[in-house]
Amino acid sequence: MKEDVGVTKNLRQLAALALSAALVFAACETTASPAPSGAATQPPGTGEPSDPSVAAPPTQIEELTVATFDTEFTLTALDINYGYPGFELAKLQYDSLTGIDTGNEVREQLATQWESNDDATEWTFTLRDDVTWHDGEAFTADDVAFTVRYENDVVRGGGAFTVLRGFEAEVIDDTHVTITTPQPEPELDRKLMRILILPEHIWDGVGDVEDLEESNRLIVELADHTGTGPYMMGDYDPDRFYTFIANDNYFLGPPAVKRIVVPIIKDTTALFAALRSGEVDAVVPPLQPENIADFQNQPNIELVEGPTFSTRTLQINAAKEPFDDPIVRRAIGMMIDPQELVDVVKLGQAVIGSQGYIHPNLPGAVQGLTLERDSAGANQLLEDAGYRDTDGDGVRETPDGEPMAYDVVAWAEEPDMIRAADLIREWGAEIGLDLTTAATETNAAVDLVWPGFNRSESGPASFDLAVWNWSSGVLNVPSQALELFYDSDVVTGRLNVDFYESSEMDGLIDSLTATTDLDERLTLMAQIQELAFEDLPFIVLWYPVDTYAYNASAYDGWRFQDGLGIINRLSFLPQVYP
């Protein structure tokens, strides 16, 4: 029949059209489908197209209880403690342009691809087009640009701001944005993994006042948790608990746990007791070394250990005589037995410190820059340099006749610091130094070493020696950590609390900041570390190795992220970066 012929013809045309469309879509998908992610040594400024290496989504378990030890406030992207575990809990709700895998390699996240210009001052990111905010709004490049603007114009403080300071962002289209930086940023992709992208439609105008205190109040008051992340905030009480509900529409697949409850248990002993009794399935803080053996015998409890990137150091006030003399610093370095510190203070749960500062597991670290105990050599060194015990009381005097008697400040709330200070005191006696352990309340101790966190205003501090802690955040970008040794300006060298001075060191760091060539950067990083080993601005005592305990029968999908531990988003996204 004529109609049938017409219908048949239409159907054929429709089929041809559908087939063409299918071919076109297939072609597009092939083009857009990123290739597997590049290796760790990709040159700076180029993020190769990559697929997120997403395997099949896991089978979800209903609920998990993970206890923490302190409040994380309202836990929005703008009201968090940037330390551990606050930032990791915030990252359950939000995403960044880039992420890191368990080996701390930079990977794609909201951005699938990125590249920079030659001097790494302009970066262009290609964004995913399949991401929505928890309220259903589409994520676009506008949100990225807004985040950069908002941190600079409204927030003006906090961890994200210190990264984005002075940056500008330009939207090219919904899936492309260019970020311009005031100085070369060859490792911007690594830095951006700390920036949680904010929804413009929620935060635009919030807290946009001149007064910072009022601005912070308005931001805290809104307490909105809309993100793009694998979890949404459920009920919470900042004094008692948080709950996270799985976002089953997450663009990298649903997370492995439907609901995570995070109660706050202030006392560490009670916290671990709750793990033993089964009231909680995992805990945030690592075990103290002396408790590890006990937990190894607990049924259902599994342990996992790995490196952290926080550092225990012995800061030496180079602004004060005689510590401005590299010979004295070398003698102090030679009196220390790093292995004994690890064995006695940390019961083996630490890695001996590298005097180049960068953790041996991190890219760019020079191996072998460790101290060896040589008290006889230290004594000889001091003797030859004129630091002698002229009155026979067992304590040396400086060439000016001042007795070499000093305080070693240690944080009173950290037993391992006090034990370390006590050992240092004993070693000091062997080389004629009269050292006294000064256990001091943490806030007061910090103020002694780093008054006002402001080198320019406060000038050199008054301490002599101090057992100190640099958090793992300092090593987020290993090359930037070397600014611990910088002196020429108080902004770049803000972490140089010892006022260590070396024009050679400053020159190397200036060159490192200016170059974007990867090979040249690695060479300069090595030279800086070797010079630090020679000059000993401060002593790196150890990097802790942390051991975490969890109830394996409740959940066994934990993934240890170097420098962080098991409480990280990847533990709940086993299909991501497998």
């Binding site: 004094d239 202030k266 806030n443 966190f453 902004v491």
Partner: protein, 325 residues
């Protein structure tokens, strides 16, 4: 009576003013400051101009006398300010915690006082007996044991080993349905911290009551009462214990004033959401607004408790009433 009350109120008013001044100064005398609390863990990465801006906007760059004047004006208007640490109104934070503290510390004080008085009187009446020696010895030992240690032993036995009581919190995270269930949930969470608090509080009340009772039992009027043929029970309760309780009232009033400050150690061990732990955390963080408000509330409660004791004493002891005249 009205004159006594008026005089007391003026005295306490002056006392409050000096307390406010001390509340303001003491946190600021400690080394360090609230910068890290305000700016967060990355405070060291802020530039000097940014740190200066923070201090300016939080009013921390003003001279101390100006900050004190602002504090007085704010307090007089009932504005307790905002927490540096949490960014929320101090009144919200503090008043959310006070009921828990009153529940724990208030109940603990009442129970400890009742038990302490009864056992103290009992021990005094049986002075020198095995019962007296055992009770006194036990409470002296108990008084020397640290509260956190007792708490941890309780957790180890009842929470970890027997698993019959919860380890932490004032209530379950998942709220119970229904009022009765909620009350039971709160009660179950209260058992261990309350028991520990009572155990560490009884000794002081017991010993005070015992020694006071021993002193009163030696008085002539007790012999007179016996000589008059009064029943033993009447003598002990109406004559002996009533007089022996006067020093105990002083101790009770002192403790009552301290109830609002909570039991910091016990609140920490059991993660009980009270005021004591809040103040401890605020000291560490140099959270001046919370510290000032917390100390002020404690001052008010101590002053109120002392005022109450001052007013009750003449009622209980006619000799004080007569002396005042």
């Amino acid at each position: 009576m009205k004159r006594i009350l008026a005089r007391r109120l003026i005295q306490y008013g002056l006392l409050l003013f000096f307390a406010l001044a001390i509340n303001f100064m003491v946190p600021r005398l400690a080394p360090g400051g609230p910068l890290q609390t305000i700016a967060g863990a990355d405070v060291g990465l802020l530039e000097p101009s940014e740190l200066a801006q923070l201090l300016r906007d939080y009013g921390l760059d003003k001279p101390l006398y100006e900050q004190f004047a602002d504090y007085l004006v704010q307090t007089a208007s009932g504005d307790l300010g905002y927490s540096y640490r949490q960014g929320r109104p101090v009144s919200d934070i503090l008043f959310a915690r006070i009921p828990w503290t009153l529940l724990l510390a208030g109940s603990g004080l009442v129970i400890a006082t009742i038990i302490g008085i009864l056992l103290g009187a009992y021990a005094a009446l049986h002075r020198g007996s095995r019962r007296d020696v055992s009770l006194t010895g036990a409470f002296v030992v108990l008084q020397s044991l640290p509260a956190f240690w007792i708490g941890m032993v309780f957790i180890a036995i009842f929470a970890t080993r027997l698993q019959i009581l919860p380890t932490f919190g004032g209530q379950s995270i998942v709220a119970s349905e229904g009022t009765i269930e909620q009350i039971l949930d709160i009660a179950v969470h209260l058992v261990m911290p309350l028991t520990v608090l009572v155990l560490v509080s009884i000794p002081h009340i017991f010993l005070t009551t015992r020694y006071s009772m021993l002193g009163v039992l030696q008085e002539d009027f007790i012999d007179t009462a016996y000589a008059k043929g009064l029943r033993r029970g009447v003598i002990l309760l109406r004559h002996a214990l009533r007089n022996a309780l006067l020093p105990v009232l002083t101790v009770f009033a002192l403790h009552l004033g301290g109830v609002v400050s909570g039991a910091t150690v016990i609140e920490t061990v059991f993660s009980y959401p009270g005021v004591g732990r809040l103040i401890y955390e605020s000291v560490i963080a140099r959270d001046f607004p919370v510290l000032q408000a917390g100390f002020f509330v404690i001052t008010l409660s101590i002053v109120a408790a002392n005022l109450m004791a001052d007013l009750l004493y003449p009622i209980l002891d006619p000799r004080v009433r007569t002396a005042a005249r």
